[in-house]
Amino acid sequence: MPLWFARGLRRGVVTTRYPARPDGSAVALPTPPAFRPLLLTREIVDRMIAQCPGTALSRAADTLVFDAGSCTACGRCARVAPHAVTPSGEFELAATTRSALIKMVPILGERR
């Protein structure tokens, strides 16, 4: 039983305090990936792009272009390279410009 539910039953209150206070259930949400640039190579990135079911990932030379707006947090890229991709834990992703959701991640693994 989730903790908030048990606590809510005891107090008679189940409503979250979010956004005034963080909500405990947020840790269980699937979240977009965060990348480790030093462990990314072009080859790994291309394999991740091939696995991405949407248009969230693309590559421009030595940069991984990650569109957080297109990401469905399915975790397929993390399955390709579990060491280089971890869940970001960010769910508060609302943006007032579309371009703010497009992130450039450098690919630094080739340099070693």
Binding site: P37, T86, S88, L93, A94, R98
Partner: protein
């Protein structure tokens, strides 16, 4: 692009205006433009006791004429274009359009003869809420951003994990 001092003061004034106009109560009309209905399911959960969005002054309304905010989900199927435009035009100003979910943001479907693939192709979008589906918490955050109660967080995120395995 960094805004100049004039633009910064204008933005601040607009933000105060939005907060004054939408800060107390906001009526939301939801629009499904061909989504798989999971976004709707999450939107529905906002009215459930755990999220209870009425405590924040947000309300759902069935009529676009009563709505301040259009919450659009789905990849904007072309068959829905006329209805979407009519709903938008029926809303009184000032109005806000929020695109909800990866389909609405153009991440899942490409433009083809059946769909536009993103909401922005038809309606002027003000706030984008990513997620597949966006959780009710993400929707609450997005609605708060839309009315200027919370600042957006995304411009500061890099989606790069540090070597210790920390988040973005």
């Amino acid at each position: 692009m960094t805004p100049g001092p004039d633009e910064a003061t204008t933005a601040e004034r607009l933000r105060a205006q939005i907060a004054a106009q939408f800060g107390r109560s906001l009526h939301i009309r939801t629009l499904d433009t061909g989504s798989c209905a999971v976004c709707e399911q999450e939107i529905r959960l906002l009215s459930a006791p755990h999220y209870d969005l009425h405590r924040l002054g947000f309300f759902f309304t069935p009529a676009p004429r009563h709505a301040d905010l259009l919450l659009v989900a789905g990849p904007m199927v072309r068959a829905f274009e006329v209805a979407a435009r009519k709903a938008y035009e029926a809303m009184p100003g000032p109005k806000v359009v929020v695109a909800t979910g990866a389909c609405a943001l153009g991440g899942v479907y490409q433009a083809d003869p059946f769909m536009h693939g993103e909401v922005e192709a038809v309606l002027p979008v003000d706030v984008w809420i990513p997620g597949c589906p966006p959780s009710p918490l993400a929707l609450l955050h997005g609605l708060s951003v839309a009315v200027g109660r919370l600042a957006e967080k995304v411009p500061g995120l890099a989606f790069v994990a540090d070597e210790n395995g920390g988040g973005a």
